[in-house]
Symmetry: C2
Subunit: 360 residues, 2 copies
């Protein structure tokens, strides 16, 4: 695999992963955890997937509390390339700051923004998709990777495909981004064959991104460029930036203006939204009548059970007679639920935030 000239990988490493509690905590979020049993965290998996494409051209943007942990997990990335946000101000500020820095240091570059906590099964398919996206982005488009839906999810936004892009096989104009639909509406989307999941993976020239932002919020773009020119003003200016997602700040208006393209692809993408997703992702052979174990299988004694067991405290975990159960054992907290109820973990975390914040 040859690297893609001038491509920078921007990795926003944020988000608590509340629905993956007690594995994921505010102090030790999802992206720092090995959730796939590979021995590498999701962040490291993201690095591993991108390094062949960008060599050493990485910028990681993360919260100040996680800067050291991120740097420790990515010794190959220069310390100066791990940017610490003074506070969380959503994805436009984080990715915009990276864009502004790249605009100054490597003005002809293309940047690809890939979240630190996604999992992708087909690395080659992903690389081919990025390669096409970069070619399109060089022409001034904001390019999003359009994930082939595998089921009518109500948990993701969708990209509505327009006409094929001339001169770029496999790429399409984007008619619009649509918000998370109901399952019924999602089923209609899938039936048309013209909708893809919006996984928030964008490929774009830094200047194009900032200029698009300037069209909707000139002050925001100007402040990002000031910060790139003088990092000493970070503490002063960062708190003034709007808290807004890149999708809303740039992608949606740009799509309406006919400036967004997409490269549809199916490379086995997963954002591991909850333990149900994680169970599906890790499940080798459905119907074996045994739970999937994330961790040391020797610690699990299972009888007539299926689902997901995470023996994360070194203790023996015995599970008897439970279908699609989720048992997550950590040194200071234990979760027992079912795959179907996995979404409700966030309610437990909300309750604990009041009573025992140290556990969240």
């Amino acid at each position: 695999m040859t690297a893609i000239e001038g491509l920078w990988a921007v990795i926003p490493a944020g988000g608590a992963g509340t629905r993956l509690w007690p594995l994921s905590r505010a102090a030790s979020p999802k992206f720092l955890r090995d959730l796939t049993g590979t021995g590498r965290s999701l962040l490291q998996g993201t690095y591993d997937r991108l390094a062949p494409l960008v060599e050493d051209r990485f910028l990681v943007v993360t919260g100040g509390a996680h800067r050291d942990a991120v740097a420790a997990q990515l010794p190959e990335v220069a310390a100066a390339s791990v940017l610490a946000e003074p506070s969380a101000r959503d994805s436009m500020a984080a990715i915009g700051l990276a864009a502004a820095l790249l605009e100054r240091t490597d003005p002809d570059s293309v940047m690809g923004s890939f979240a630190a906590d996604h999992v992708i099964a087909d690395t080659d398919g992903f690389a081919a998709c990025v390669r096409t996206a970069v070619e399109v982005a060089r022409g001034g488009w904001l390019v999003t990777l359009g994930i082939e839906p595998t089921f009518p999810s109500s948990a993701f936004g969708y990209v509505h495909l327009g006409a094929p892009l001339e001169g770029h096989e496999g790429a399409f104009a984007v008619r619009e981004f649509v918000e998370k639909p109901s399952v019924a509406v999602a089923e209609e989307y899938l039936a048309t064959g013209r909708f893809r999941w919006n996984a928030g993976m964008f490929v774009v020239r830094p200047t194009v991104l900032l200029d698009l932002l300037a069209e909707s919020d000139p002050a925001f773009a100007a402040t990002l460029r000031e910060l790139a020119a003088d990092s000493s003003r970070l503490a002063e200016l960062w708190p003034t930036l709007p808290k807004i997602a890149l999708d809303h700040a740039v992608a949606e208006p740009a799509a309406a203006a006919g400036r967004v393209a997409t490269v549809p692809a199916s490379f086995g993408w997963d954002d591991i939204g909850d333990f149900d997703s994680l169970a599906a992702l890790l499940e080798d052979e459905p119907g074996t009548g045994a739970p999937t174990v994330l961790g040391d299988a020797a610690l699990v004694q299972a009888i007539a059970s299926t689902g997901l067991v995470v023996p994360g405290s070194g203790r023996v975990v015995a599970v008897i007679g439970l279908e699609d159960v989720v048992v997550v054992d950590t040194p200071d907290a234990l979760l027992v639920t079912t795959r179907a109820r996995a979404q409700e973990v966030k309610q437990v975390v909300a309750a604990l935030r009041d009573s025992q914040p140290g556990l969240t």
Copy 2:
């Protein structure tokens, strides 16, 4: 409540309580644990129930490994009254040794044998039943307490009532002891109104018990009497004693010979056979839509769940969307099952005995 003159309480404290793993372990068995959340172990609860009836007349028979723990839990009982079996040789040897000792030291006494790991709700009802049983026993009967069945259990043996005992209101002759029946047969028993659970609680004069034993196994009775006369021979003679339950060695043949009586009673008896029984015992108000917690309820976060949660390691336990679940959290092992499958815990223990005996 006045004490019953000449009554000795004999407490066999044995049995691992395998189906209550991981709360109950070989090294820390059921009878040493507080399974009812009262702050007193089952052994201590047994002591508390009997002390008003027998004052200081206790004999506790336990395994050598548990002698110190038993003595520590019962500071009111003289150290010499806690007998350590050199090895486990079933209930006839344990209770027979106590009988032989009492025959020498208090020949006119009556002994009542009450297991260390039973729970009784109605202490006054129990006391009244024992009082009647002692009166009958003074007349030379082997008396068993006959528990009113609350459901057609296949887990207990039954006592088949015969004619009322002349001169002893509330007592009956016993026609026979019957082994654990099928549920269908148990239903037939209950329909007759003539069957009671055999809870293994016997009241008898020590000499009567040993003489009954001598009828079926003269050597056994003779050896027990030799041991009582010369305790220095314990290590030598104990291993020669038959391994047999008192029911088989004495109670069944004595019933066939018309020598057994019973005092039927319903005083809320439970032997806490498994976590399903324990859940039923601890359940305050069925249908409240929350699990029963044995331990610190502040550690349990439950959403849309029922059953039994034992937070026994100090960790937070979150349970979401599980009906009749059983979650038992201990410092080195965790059990997750359902009340309906609680019997199968013994399979886990059997598997662990091979792989990780330290946990059993």
